[in-house]
């Protein structure tokens, strides 16, 4: 499912809303999460999961093609930990595996 398919499904289930509004709702949610992570904040959505930012230390890397060593600066990476309810659902509602 892509973002536009998500918008379509939500629009179908909420016929009283303009699709334009559904689009803005979805965009606002992901924009808020992204902005929070860019500030270094955590986003915790109980039952669904939590987004956070982890720091990766600076290290000396190597260009795999030339073998040349390069300095890789410290960087931050986004991280998502699935919430308990969703983790349980993923395994309970799919017992044919």
């Amino acid at each position: 499912m892509t973002k536009s398919e998500l918008i379509l499904r939500l629009a179908e289930k909420n016929p009283h809303l303009y699709q334009r509004d559904v689009e803005r709702i979805v965009s606002t949610i992901f924009e808020e999460i992204s902005a929070a992570l860019a500030r270094g904040d955590r986003v915790e959505l109980r039952g669904f999961g939590a987004f956070s930012v982890k720091t990766r230390d600076a290290r000396t890397g190597r260009n795999p093609r030339t073998g040349e060593t390069v300095h890789v600066a410290e960087k931050s990476v986004p991280f998502f930990k699935v919430g308990k309810d969703l983790r349980v659902r993923l395994n309970d509602e799919h017992q044919q595996g």
Binding site: L6, L10, I29, R42, S76, P78
Partner: protein, 111 residues
């Protein structure tokens, strides 16, 4: 460090201010969005949100684990786990914008 936690309340508040629905309905829609994503993932389908990232479900095989406290061997059953991969747009934004991907600077500026 920043250390603030954003929750559903702030997301609903932003939707409320951005879209002009009632506060109740804004909260409900935030919930609807999360549920729609969760339902899709539960069916085993991948969810791709452009310029944010993708959520996918990975099947893990059975393996033997060990209770770290007692050293006892315990079987870990096959299970499904959720994997989130952030988009390059989000990654570079977290590191301070488009240009910083190649800039070799120290810690990001603090607010």
């Amino acid at each position: 460090m920043a250390g603030t936690t954003v929750t559903r309340a702030q997301l609903s508040e932003s939707v409320y201010q951005e879209v002009g629905l009632s506060r109740n309905e804004s909260a409900e829609l935030v919930e609807n969005v999360l549920n729609e994503i969760a339902d899709t993932l539960t069916r085993g389908e991948t969810v791709k949100i452009s310029s944010f990232g993708s959520f996918s479900v990975r099947q893990k095989g059975e393996r033997t684990g060990r209770n770290p406290k007692t050293g006892e061997e315990v079987p870990i059953k096959p299970r499904r786990v959720l994997v989130f991969r952030a988009s390059n747009v989000l990654k570079s934004r977290i590191n301070g914008g488009e240009d910083s991907a190649f800039a070799d600077k120290g810690a990001p500026p603090s607010p």
